[in-house]
Symmetry: C2
Subunit: 247 residues, 2 copies
């Protein structure tokens, strides 16, 4: 099993879960495999209340953190792993089959990183925007005739794999994570976006698409905390100059 100091550096994040039974099932699987850090993004208030007050609900539900956006929920994480079935879309990030996830997590834990395992809503899974916060997508190998898993069961399978196989695994020499926490990358992206605007780099209609691509790019570059700080300093300077020139 995973040593406690690594277990505590894994956040399970549920984006807008709908069914209280599923929320309870995810929490139970977490307790079964020794994980305690649950984050919930924009839950349906009533269902969330119901899940937390259910008889026999694991204690970790009471301690779960709630946030309005996925960006907030994963701000402290250096490796964000999205889950879901990729049957109907092409991934914009590296895809790792679940049985090969262990070396990636082992490497991230070895260098002191913090991992988020993100699950989408029951009906349609994570959106393209949600996925843009992910360094890597993990796919559970399922039968093509019935690829889509129940949320509680998918969580149980992922957490089993992580708990059992990460500790035995050699860290992957190169992997899709980044040592800069997700929150720093978001601040850098914001600054670059301001710079784009100030430089009139592209029309306003392109702003959302640019932001999306930028988010993916920054995660693909594997920037560490030092890189991120330097890039911030550089873009702050550029931005100040651009704004001075204009005034």
């Amino acid at each position: 099993m995973l040593p406690p100091d690594q277990r505590d550096r894994l956040d399970v994040v549920l984006v807008s879960p709908r069914n209280p039974l599923n929320i309870g099932a995810v929490a139970r699987a977490m307790a079964n495999f020794g994980f305690e850090q649950l984050g919930v993004v924009a839950p349906y208030a009533e269902h969330w209340r119901e899940a937390r007050s259910a008889v026999g609900a694991p204690e970790l539900l009471a301690n779960a953190t709630e946030s309005a956006t996925l960006a907030e929920a994963v701000a402290a994480c250096t490796l964000v792993v999205g889950t879901g079935s990729l049957t109907y879309r092409k991934a914009e990030q590296p895809v790792v089959p679940l049985p090969q996830l262990a070396p990636v997590l082992a490497a991230e834990f070895a260098r002191g990183g913090r991992v988020a395992l993100v699950f989408g809503p029951e009906k349609h899974g994570l959106t393209r925007e949600d996925l843009s916060y992910c360094h890597v997508l993990v796919e559970i190998p399922t039968d093509a005739r019935q690829p889509s898993m129940n949320l509680g069961q998918a969580a149980a399978v992922c957490l089993y794999e992580v708990a059992v196989r990460t500790a035995q695994s050699e860290p992957a020499p190169q992997h899709p994570g980044s040592t800069a926490p997700s929150g720093s990358l978001e601040r850098l992206a914001g600054l670059i976006e301001e710079t784009m605007t100030a430089a009139e780099y592209s029309p306003a209609t392109m702003q959302a698409a640019n932001r999306h691509d930028l988010r993916l790019l920054l995660r693909r570059l594997r920037l560490n905390a030092h890189d991120t700080r330097r890039a911030m300093g550089f873009f702050r300077r550029v931005l100040r100059r651009l704004l001075q020139d204009r005034s």
Copy 2:
């Protein structure tokens, strides 16, 4: 993933499942990982009907076989694997942690065997008698503070492990299975029991305990079909003589 001819030689057997949602969840996990053979032992009639008629129930539920006893349900199987948490009792069979089950199943499939994966009722799991039909027990490694898993989630985790890891695994050189189907071992056990009675081997009060030990012994001996036939012939002969002497 497991090749289809091996997938079709794995039976999932539920003993007296109670919650229709759990039955549906097990069926769904089976469909996710490509398994189709479901057997149900002594189900609660109403809950079983409800599970089968649920909206979106996988087709394999309609084709599930129903039997009155576990002995019947696993009669054709050469390796019967019991599941459950062993926190409160000592196992009478070899225990294999789930992450080490693959080589055992690979060996059994390689020699043409048929495997049953048996799950007990939600509340208390498999009884000691149920377990006496099992060649081996599999244990999912869970946290000591919350060892007991939900039925649907336990099934998902087991089936994931079997589907993903068995095909890649080297068959175990020696493993706890037997090439004689469970039904033949039961017939042999019945004959030995008759012989015990005819020979006045032990008092009638010991009969249940003897039967239990005999069942465990026959599974531990790893008898193949040929051994079993010879033993049957031998005990038939002994029994006939014993009964002749008496008359």
